[in-house]
């Protein structure tokens, strides 16, 4: 295309500051992006546990004791909520990220993909719980 003359043009570029506050969709996006902090926090809790474990029994028990504190339990309840929210939003956006999936000649709907993801989490959770239960009883 022909390069535009400037003339009296003075295109106005709007600032982006605060863009995510202007639309409920974006607010939700920023909140679910924020779930990353909780995922990180839990990973750090586990990392500390792993370190403590490698340092011997006393160190491990100290970590285990800390896990029993009401503050820790409250914190983990919050973490649980955040993890569930993360899982939900993860699967909610999944239909956009996956190539079309055809089942019996029909394209799988977005809600079916999300439901499938949620079902996978339920299944994985049950298996994990059973494994842990087997290993520890």
């Amino acid at each position: 295309m022909k390069p535009r003359a400037i003339g009296k043009r003075r295109p106005y570029v709007r600032p982006m500051a605060g863009w995510w506050r202007k639309n409920p969709y974006f607010v939700e996006y920023m909140i679910h992006e924020g779930s990353a902090f909780f995922v990180a926090a839990y990973a750090l809790v586990l990392l500390v546990g792993l370190l403590r474990l490698s340092q011997g029994e006393a160190a491990w028990n100290g970590w285990l004791f800390a896990l029993h504190s009401p503050l820790s339990i409250a914190g983990h309840l919050l973490l649980l909520a955040a993890m569930l929210y993360h899982a939900w939003t993860w699967f909610n956006i999944m239909p956009i990220t996956l190539p079309p999936i055809f089942v019996a000649g029909k394209r799988l709907s977005a809600s079916a993909i999300t439901a499938g993801g949620v079902a996978a989490t339920v299944l994985a959770s049950v298996i994990l719980l059973l494994v842990v239960w087997r290993l520890t009883s």
């Binding site: 295309m1 535009r4 009296k8 043009r9 003075r10 295109p11 106005y12 570029v13 709007r14 982006m16 863009w19 995510w20 202007k22 639309n23 409920p24 969709y25 974006f26 996006y29 992006e33 956006i93 239909p95 956009i96 990220t97 996956l98 190539p99 079309p100």
Partner: protein, 271 residues
């Protein structure tokens, strides 16, 4: 989201046609580069009937209240892609957004977000066009064919693979919905990726490898953070977010497999 629900309500509650004439306040973001230093809001009281679109409201303003209001429009039926604008902060085609859905509170209309404003509701779309031109948006034949040989055979299933992405009307609502484009306009963006993907997925095309360079690049698909709003606002159900994200997977595959497989053997990666 708010909008689809509203649309649904409309279907049920809207009387078939007009009744009494009512008036609705329409706030319009004005910007006249020869007189304004920055955009300003101006409110117009517009009489309307229930079957009037937002575009018809703007036409009323231009015809009878202020002839200097500028905006793009043409087909009035959601296929030419001209009349995209922000309606109460939501990227919308003004021809298929209806005034009655905003009555009595009124509505605010602004130029499409994330693009420079040329004048009033008219944005500068050079960037979009340059991107469109850069992706080789035409068939690069896999197997050249003479006209005398007739059409390429393509089954309905093969057509279905790309048809959705070929429905993009270039209205750019997805760009106005994409904060990553707003934050970094070098990002190739959703709509153009949909078109690129449309050609890559076409059974007649063999040019995927040429197009993937842009996909892989720093201006390519990895600028996307899967916000997903682009697909939400698309008036033609194109799902541009899907085109971007499928290509993240393709690009990542290529990123690692190129070391395993010699160049060229992987050209059909996007297929």
């Amino acid at each position: 989201m708010v909008l689809p629900a509203r649309r649904q309500n409309r279907k049920e509650s809207r009387p078939a046609m007009s009744e009494i004439e009512k008036t609705i306040p329409i706030e319009v973001l004005r910007y006249r580069p020869e007189q304004d230093t920055e955009p300003v809001l101006q409110t117009f009281q517009v009489p309307f009937t229930d079957d009037m679109s937002v575009l018809q409201g703007l036409q009323y303003i231009k015809d009878y209240l202020d002839g200097s209001l500028s905006f793009r429009w043409s087909c009035r039926m959601a296929i030419c892609g001209s009349c995209g604008m922000m309606v109460n902060g939501i990227p919308s085609l003004s021809c298929k957004t209806f005034l009655s859905d905003y009555y009595p509170a009124g509505l605010r209309i602004e130029a499409l977000a994330h693009f420079p404003i040329e004048r009033d509701l008219v944005i500068v779309m050079d960037d979009f066009i340059e991107k469109l031109e850069s992706i080789k948006p035409y068939i690069i034949p896999k197997t050249p064919r003479a006209l005398s040989e007739g059409e390429y055979l393509q089954t309905p299933a093969e057509r279905d693979v790309y048809e959705q992405f070929s429905s993009c009307i270039n209205c750019m609502l997805c760009y106005a919905a994409c904060p990553q484009y707003g934050l970094n306009s070098k990002f190739v963006g959703p709509g153009i990726m949909a078109l690129l993907h449309r050609y890559n997925m076409d059974s007649r095309d063999g040019g995927a490898e040429q197009r993937m360079e842009l996909v892989h690049s720093e201006d390519g698909v990895f600028n996307c953070t899967a916000v997903g709003y682009c697909s939400e606002v698309c008036p033609k159900h194109v799902d541009p977010g899907n085109a971007v994200n499928i290509n993240k997977t393709e690009s990542a595959k290529d990123y690692f497999l190129r070391f395993v497989m010699p160049k060229g053997s992987n050209s059909g990666a996007a297929k």
